[in-house]
């Protein structure tokens, strides 16, 4: 029948029309914008509300805090052009730049910082990062304000005059200038925010910034965010880019194709692609500082009331140390995770902070020598197991290892499972319990776990961001749930824990010199390692590809997101 031929012709023709009409230019970064890959949506542009790295990263191009990090990671003034601290190290005075303006022309004032600090700890506002104010910076009166005992006006912050901002603390804070880099302490133009009502931060019209870039395209949970150079920025002549474009791409394959196709200048790649790209000159490893570790639940009367024998077994030091030495951390990082992550034979991640003499924390204390008896060693691990078995009168153990449902975490857990099996010749087994991340955290917070693969990322560039976790306040496992990262070791080793608490307190109350304080924090790490309070696994790093002609992006491991204000594209 002729009709069929005609139909076929129509079909082919229409297909051809579609494809030819689509024949256009091949995408390419020809303009003066950097196209950045992010793999999750921005959850909030409100600095006092956001809690995730992606949001922080975009915010920090739009708003600047009192201080920031320069390209070498040293603190420099941003909105603050200078500062001083009182004799007793309790009162900090910041002088705000005269030439700092919001994008609507308002000057950035001390009051903007007063509003920001008050909002952060205001129980009505209920910021998830309120603890940065009351527990980390320990602003005077912050606990009372947060607990609703005092009005937020009682907080120890004030605008001395339009450009002078003063913060009073409960205790001296040696890392104050590192803290003020953090997004939670970014200024707020409250008048503008109030005028937007509940639409604040949902579109370029209802957002205000004071940073090197300004928002031009944004809507909630959008896939593309466009930022243009901000001409009212005090350092605008130094900003060489016309702007930035963020692209939310969740599929790793799509992202890499987009990068190859020049639609992205900077792409984050995951472990499955590292093998292919690791010899590419554009391949870079960026130090992240998430420490992944096994948290062991040593249980206590509060949680299990003695009903779970496994958590009782985990109170045995020899058993914990046996576990600690039973898995090959180098293999986890290099063969399992494979994204540039490194083995962690320590607690404080590489790149976290520098010692008073300028050396990185991991050069100051070389884990391989100082914690030699904590390293992976199958024979030693088996000996420790034998000792533990004799002490406990039990020869076979079977623990439940809770792990979240992302591929990487599951791969790591499965690998560790295999290593335990091999090292202990089948006497110590773990079975995996896979849950969503939220469910894992709920279980671990309720003390409802035996061993958990978990992580902690730093909030500021000081070892204390980790040290603090295992002070008895945080270390306990209660059935009403507090942080469980210490697994209740304070109950297992009360004397040692009390000693640890004293060291932590001494680091916070200003009684130690900088060097003494640093060394005390190093002693604390030693206690954690030698007592196998946690079992470190690896330090998560990010592998990425950056186009060769894109220069001057400043990456920082800690607290401060990637900085683009000095970046440029080489022509």
């Amino acid at each position: 029948m002729k009709i069929a031929k005609k139909l076929a012709a129509v079909l082919l023709a229409s297909l051809m029309i579609v494809s030819f009409s689509a024949c256009g230019k091949k995408g390419g970064a020809v303009d003066n914008y950097i196209d950045i890959h992010i793999n999750t949506e921005v959850t909030s542009l409100d600095p006092q509300e956001a809690t995730d790295g992606t949001s922080f990263g975009v915010q920090s191009q739009l708003i600047e805090g009192l201080t920031g990090l320069d390209k070498d990671g040293n603190t420099e003034g941003l909105m603050a052009e200078g500062w001083s601290v009182s004799e007793d190290n309790l009162t900090w005075t910041f002088n705000i730049r005269k030439d700092a303006f919001w994008t609507n022309g308002d000057p950035v004032t001390a009051q903007d910082f007063v509003d920001a600090f008050q909002t952060l700890v205001d129980p009505v506002y209920n910021s998830e990062y309120a603890y940065m104010g009351y527990s980390i910076m320990q602003i005077k009166g912050s606990n009372d304000v947060f607990n609703g005992v005092a009005d937020k006006s009682a907080l120890g912050v004030r605008a001395v005059d339009e450009k002078t901002f003063e913060v009073t603390l409960e205790y001296p804070c040696p890392f104050m200038l590192s803290l003020t880099c953090f997004n939670s302490f970014y200024p707020r133009n409250q008048k503008f925010i109030d005028s937007c009502g509940e639409n604040y931060g949902t579109s370029p019209e209802t957002f205000i910034g004071c940073g090197p870039f300004k928002l031009v395209e944004y809507e909630p949970s959008t896939e593309t965010i466009v930022l243009d150079k901000n001409e009212t920025y005090y350092n605008a002549d130094k900003v060489k880019l016309d702007g930035l474009r963020y692209h939310v791409i969740k599929d790793a394959q799509s992202a890499i194709l987009a990068y190859e196709n020049n639609e992205l200048d900077y792409a984050v790649i995951d472990g499955s692609l590292v093998e292919t790209y690791k010899d590419n000159p554009e391949f870079q490893v960026l130090y992240g500082s998430y420490l992944w570790f096994l948290s062991v639940n040593m249980g206590n009367e509060h949680t299990f009331k003695g009903t779970n024998p496994n958590t009782g077994y985990l109170r045995n030091l020899n058993l914990r140390k046996a576990l600690m030495r039973a898995y090959d951390r180098e293999a986890v990082a290099n063969n399992v995770v494979k994204d540039g992550s490194i083995a962690a034979d320590y607690v404080y991640p590489k790149g976290l902070a520098s010692a008073p003499d300028g050396r990185d924390v991991r050069e100051y204390v070389d884990a391989k020598t100082v914690y030699a008896d904590c390293l992976y060693n199958k024979e030693e691990a088996y000996k420790l197991y034998e000792a533990a078995a004799a002490e406990l009168g039990v020869t076979d153990f079977d623990f439940e290892l809770v792990v979240e449902d992302n591929q990487q975490a599951q791969d790591v857990a499965a690998f560790i499972q295999g290593q335990f099996n091999e090292t202990f010749q089948g006497h110590v087994k773990v079975h995996l319990k896979v849950e969503t991340k939220k469910a894992r955290l709920a279980d671990m917070n309720a003390g409802n776990f035996e061993i958990g693969l978990t992580r902690w990322g730093p909030d500021y560039a000081d070892p204390m961001t980790y040290t603090d976790l295992w002070s008895s306040f945080n270390a306990q496992v209660y059935d009403d749930g507090t942080k469980v990262l210490g697994g209740g070791w304070n109950v297992v080793a009360p004397e040692l824990s009390a000693e640890y608490d004293k060291k932590v307190a001494a680091c916070k109350d200003g009684s130690l010199s900088i060097q003494e304080r640093w060394d005390t924090m190093m002693e604390c790490e030693k206690i954690i390692m030698e007592n196998a309070v946690i079992l470190p696994v690896y330090q998560k790093n990010d592998a990425s590809l950056i186009k060769a002609n894109v220069k001057g992006i400043e990456f920082h491991a800690i607290g401060m997101p990637t900085v683009y204000r000095n970046a440029y594209i080489e022509k």
Binding site: G27, E128, P220, Q253, S254, N261, T436, K438, T454
Partner: protein, 313 residues
Amino acid sequence: MKKYIAERLGTAFVTILVIIFVLFAMMQFMPGSPFNDEKLSRELIEKLNEKYGLNQPLYVQFFKYVKNVAKFDFGISYVINKNISINLMLKTRVPTSMRIGLQAVSVGAVIGLLLGIIAALKHNTFWDNLTTVISVLGVSVPSYVFALLMLYTFAYRLGWFPLLYTKTEPFRSSLLPTFALSMFTIASIARFTRTEMLEVLDSDYMLLVESKGISGPALIFRHALRNALIPIVTVLGPLVVGLMTGSLVVEKIFSIPGMGALMTAAIQANDYNVTIAMTYIYSVMYIIIMLVVDLLYGVIDPRIRLAKEDSGE
């Protein structure tokens, strides 16, 4: 007929009520809460629960929820876009997904029909075999595989299309996802059309029509296709629904800011309100489509309508 329509509407309404209830119950059973994070302290979690009314008795939460959901007021997001109204988040996502979905259905239906007709008319020739191959591939290969293949071939290798969805070129950048999504529809429709057409073409009345001297397009479209269409309409409904689920993955691959992408993100983040909103919207869409198909049945094929009325259904 009126009774039939009333009955269908009634069933749809009851189904929606059941869905609302099941959704609420499921969210209660879901492990974890939106406020679990390494960094949150107990006091903060309590305060957050209080802020969002999650500490109120279940029945209070339930009635509040039913009232709001019925009004399509889904409240605010807890996690994905903190404190931002879900309706605002959906404002651009729903049209984007709808548009791509409609494009995929149209492309799928048209190409599928054409392929099916060609195959039937050219029974046991190259064209027929080609259609069979396309059908088998389209039905058995999941849409995300097509998505990746097309992405690689047409966007990356040939550079004809943008790799990722962009709002500056909403049509051009939605073509690849449209085709990826429509493959299953094309395959199913082609298969059905072919079978139905063959059956119709073989029937006695076609012989009669042909003997009356009618030929060409009139024969095919007015007489053969019309009769073949009835069963095809019935599969179109479920296919449209199939597109919705396909879009969950395809939207992720092409970075399309649509409903599917939002739903997957919401489930992973335990964002109760967003998950409920998305599930509810998908369910309502499903129910509406099935309702329309049911009603169309009656309109297109009097036999069904009459049979149903006879049997008192």
